[in-house]
Amino acid sequence: METGKVMTMREAVASFVPDGSSVAMGCCLEPLVPFAAGHELIRQRRTALNLIGPISDSLFDQLIGAGCVARVTAAWVGNVSEGLGHNYRRAAESGQPNPLEIRDHSNFSIALALWAAAWGAPYLPTRTLLGSDILLSNPDLVAGDGLVRVGALKPDVTILHVQRADAAGRAHAWGPLGVAEEAALAAGRVILSCEELVDQEVILSDPNRVLVAETKVVAVVPEPGGGHPAPVQGYWRRDHAFMRDYATRSRTREGFLEWLQEWVLATPDRAAYLGRLDDTERLRIRQHRLSAPVDYGDE
């Protein structure tokens, strides 16, 4: 069995996400947000990242506040249950801590941009965004002939948190998939973090559920709870209180920096982070709703 792809988040980020990378995250919108990966990017002081994603809940806001980001290419940046992203505001309104370039998208147009790259096309045409000022604030969108040409977005790296994967980089993810599939197909490389590292027999029992060709995957990080405070179907509820606390504390730059110190910089890894949460058990999903099997029988 191949195991060369299995590594820690520290190793994965150090090996595959250099400064200046374009990084797609938050691809499933609210669930399965790879917060553990984002925090490791912060700890390793990545700079000049181009973040790509439809809606990342509060993850992009954190990376922006931590000074890792030069450009955001996204449909929405904030805090889904709480509203505004305060670091996003500070960066856009007053360049704090860095000036931020914003390339606005809608959810549909960013999906099309990723599909364009996944299919080796320079752009995909659509009627969405006609009449919207988003056409003014993103040079990747070109209107003409009653259509908008959405330029291809090819992330250097797509980082996904999934429910389970095997050592060869085959992922099973379920629940709403957002733009995860096209973001993985479009990327130069894919980093997976997973709730469970499972035997390949589990994954290969259901090849239709494999999210992307393993040939794209360079790292598999076993990282239970790596999506907290985002929900993970079958594993974790969303931690609304944690999101609210983040929203409150990040209203000021000082408050954010304290939050960052506490939850990211002074916390060496995800296990330590989970240990800081006073009660993870209240978040754990305990009642199973198992899918009916399908039969891949061939003889």
Partner: protein
Amino acid sequence: MSDRYTPQELMVAAAAREIADGDLVFVGMRLPILAYAVARSTHAPRARALYELGLLRDWPAEAFLGTMGDPPNVAGALWSTRLSNVMGLLAQGLADLGFLGGAEVDRFGNLNTSYIGDFRQPQVKLPGSGGGADIAILSRRWVTLLSHERRRLVDRVSYVTSPGYGDGSQGWRRRQGLPGGGPAAIVTTLAILRFPPGGGEAHLDSVHPGHSVEEVRAETGWDLQVTPGAGETPAPTREELEQIRKFDPEGFWTRPA
């Protein structure tokens, strides 16, 4: 159960009445999810809800939802798929109704959820479109929900994230190539504004109980015209309130702002 209701509960009830039975509804977050839940539980039992992140549902989840991706909204879904598949149905013109919110709406129904002030040097950076622009451009009709404040109902928005009727001229959407029909109504904490068939400028259609035309006009950033025969918005029924409180028992979404 108390028959007293919050402005948000009235908005949910009014929004629910915009849903016809059998509609395929593009559901956003917050109040629209509650409106769908109320409609589905009352007069629209055959409605279906699309959620942009990749879900189709019939019955709304009964558990509290902080986001549309919370696990109770996925369990029991009729289809769990990619965002582009759901948006594709919208782009085909198959979504009967969408709901949108926003920081600012203008007299022609354009919504701003992106930038207050010049987008190159914004006074306020708002979160952005999400799926809002897609719904505004592609759904057959849509309804805006927002708090009725003079700073929110403005003459012209500083940035059009989600286009309504543009500059308000006849046929603007058609000329720009927008496939969907445009906004039908603006449901606020004080009133319901409606657009004439074919689009144009929002008119005051009904005032919520306890409020006046003068109050509504004073809180509106343009010289709001009143539809002849405009009356009072019906209060939420007991059944509607029951359903709202079933789906939002702690008033997380419907407590006054």
